[in-house]
Symmetry: C2
Subunit: 413 residues, 2 copies
């Protein structure tokens, strides 16, 4: 492979300050895992933590664990930890429910803060569940509001005086396109709108500076780069300045000022705790805490540097080695505009991804033609990038992708 050799990349791995983190994940033998943008890998420490939680806390201390082991404080405690990864203050982030549900809460809250405006602005590259939740809220509110979708490159121009809320996912789940949070947020505020950022593909993958950008609301996902486990609870951010006014429409008892007073009337808790709704899933939340703790040990700037380096390396090698085979780069070439993944386009993307998976290289596919490769810097190595491109080349050269078995569609890829 041209001037660069695999040995060069082994040397880069040897010098990588983040390399020691890889040993702290329980990765399967012989697998290159490039799908941490969909489900993060298992931290070894999670195994012991969950076992202790189940056997000691639930099994032995039972109901008393809500106080004794701080279950009741878990949403706030893990929220405060996530806050440090996304440029928020303690008391501005809380963990609960799903990203979808949290988006519903802050969108309803934000719309009420912008009376007289009726447009929710988003882009066609947003993850569909965010759009669906907005559509559902619009429908529930008898179409007083309207969801307006534009191309992701046209968002800035589309913020007019009808826009109440600009609701975007910072990193496009298919292409990795990274929005300019600071510029868009500033423009929204100048034009009288509020912003909601979905950090699903950002938190734990790149430095986010919510308060530096004066973001109003944010939500995000626990099971991708935070390595919180399948379906880990999500988080929600409410900027301190909105906490008194912003009201979730999901008035659950955990968001009550005094949940255990068991009053008949709802009184919202102070601060971000009012975003809580029902009783939190403690097993899933405890697993998330382990993942977050590990990320807090890493320097997020170093995480980003390695993420960019892995992505640039992948693009360089892919263009060099895969040129004859009809791939196109679907992600921005400029790392300033790209999250922690690189996507390629190929009309036979689906069977090609399946062929890769059969060789133990796990990326994923998004219709109609996107091959996604996520680079989680805590456990992906430079040699993994080399080996992936080499495997892709071999699969294309030998036609190994062109088998009926690789064309069978599963429900999740």
């Amino acid at each position: 492979m041209a001037a660069l050799t695999r040995a060069d990349l082994e040397a880069r791995d040897a010098q990588d300050p983040l390399a020691p983190f890889r040993e702290r994940f329980d990765l399967p033998e012989g697998v290159i895992y490039l799908d941490g943008n969909s489900l993060g890998a298992l931290p070894k420490a999670t195994v012991e933590r969950i076992h202790a939680l189940v056997t000691r806390e639930w099994g032995q201390d039972l109901i008393r664990s809500w106080n004794l082991h701080g279950w009741i404080d878990l949403p706030q405690r893990v929220g405060d930890k996530i806050a440090r990864l996304i440029g928020a203050e303690p008391g501005e982030v809380i963990v609960c429910d799903s990203t979808s549900a949290n988006l519903f809460k802050v969108l309803a809250a934000a719309l009420r803060l912008c009376p007289g405006r009726h447009v929710i602005l988003s882009d066609t590259g947003n993850f569909p569940t965010d759009l669906y939740m907005a559509q559902g809220l619009v429908d529930l509110l008898s179409h007083q509001y309207e969801l307006r979708l534009v191309d992701e490159r046209d968002v800035l121009d589309a913020i007019d005086e009808d826009v109440a809320v600009v609701m975007l996912t910072q990193v496009n789940y298919r292409t990795g396109y990274l929005h300019d949070m600071a510029t868009i947020t500033r423009a929204a505020h100048e034009r009288g709108a509020l912003v909601i950022w979905d950090l699903a593909h950002s938190a734990g993958a790149l430095p986010v500076d919510l308060n530096g950008c004066h973001v109003d609301f944010a939500v995000g996902c626990g099971y991708k780069y935070l390595n919180g486990g399948p379906g880990a609870p999500a988080f929600v951010f409410v900027a301190r300045r909105w906490q008194e006014q912003a009201l979730s429409p999901l008035w659950g008892w955990m968001g009550h000022a005094e949940p255990f007073a068991l009053e008949l009337e709802y009184r919202p808790a102070d601060g971000v705790r009012r975003m809580l709704c029902g009783t939190p899933p403690i097993l899933s939340m405890a697993a998330l805490e382990v993942g977050v703790d590990m990320l807090l040990e890493a320097d997020i700037q170093a995480v980003r540097r390695k993420s960019v380096a892995l992505g640039q390396l992948f693009i360089q090698l892919a263009e060099q080695e895969l040129a004859p085979f009809g791939f196109e780069l679907a992600s921005p070439r400029d790392p300033e505009r790209r999250g922690s993944q690189v996507s390629l386009r190929h009309p036979e993307g689906y069977p090609i991804v399946q062929a890769l998976i059969s060789r133990g290289i796990i990326g994923d596919f998004r219709a109609p033609d996107i091959l996604r490769f996520g680079f989680a810097p805590l456990y992906v190595r430079y040699v993994d990038v080399w080996d992936t491109v080499a495997a892709l080349r071999n699969i294309m050269e030998t036609g190994a992708w062109d088998r009926p078995a690789f064309r069978v569609r599963g429900k999740v890829t």
Copy 2:
């Protein structure tokens, strides 16, 4: 203790057909656990299941587990199992989110099915989060609707032509009062209203016959008598006849007709699956499945018989032994009108419960004066009831409850 002796109760335990289930729970030594109505005990099988889920499914098979290990079907699969416990058909129940969130979904759906009516009827004994969720929805919908609360004994009379939805928890969380689901549901339908039943304290504790009673919607909790673990996901029931019309307002991607088509427009899934919202918390849901599986092995009629017998025994012994100490029965004496708990009232209830807990007998307290004792028939023995009453008598006789340490209020009791 009068004619009845502890040995008599040992004999009853020896003959109890449900007694073998107790060995399948990992209960702490020397503890009598009468709080399974708040957090069910740990099934031993859960420990191994969660360990395998974490290490093998998440750790080794990673993203592939959504198909390989059926994670994607878990909400429906566990829902179908719960259906068998509550008189529902396969495809009428699904597991997701919290009881609170699920109540919001079906309440919004039900209100749309009753145009021209504006009252949500509930009772003052309902668990507060249900009332709060209704208040939040009313508030979101600009007070087009009104939540009307009556005493639990006055529900039948209060169903008039303004009532759109009767929304009740079948078993009162404080007193154990058991509503007559069949009669109330019939009356509601005769008067043109729909019903939503919250089965938080019913599912797994007594036979529920949703379809036999022609119930429209129901929700329930996974972490009480289903032994699903702290904050286990909840379930939601939508009667088959409403499934095409009933729409959750939380349009998450998991409730989309084709979640992985990732379309820009929401199209609700057929059937109860449209009640799904975000990505489900797999760890917590897998733990719930183990608890449900065990209940399915038990005969729910036998569960109810033992539950009633434990309750009647407790009332009998309490009246016999505790008469001089100022306790009052807070639960219905008639077992037909009582769930699987017995509550007493005492002005010093809080320190008395703390004194009991210090002796390893775990009940709980609900302000202002309720001592709750939950009888989960899979692991509570007849001798446990004897020992509890004996301990209560001793605590009262010796004044052992009257210590400053027992008056310190924790956040969860």
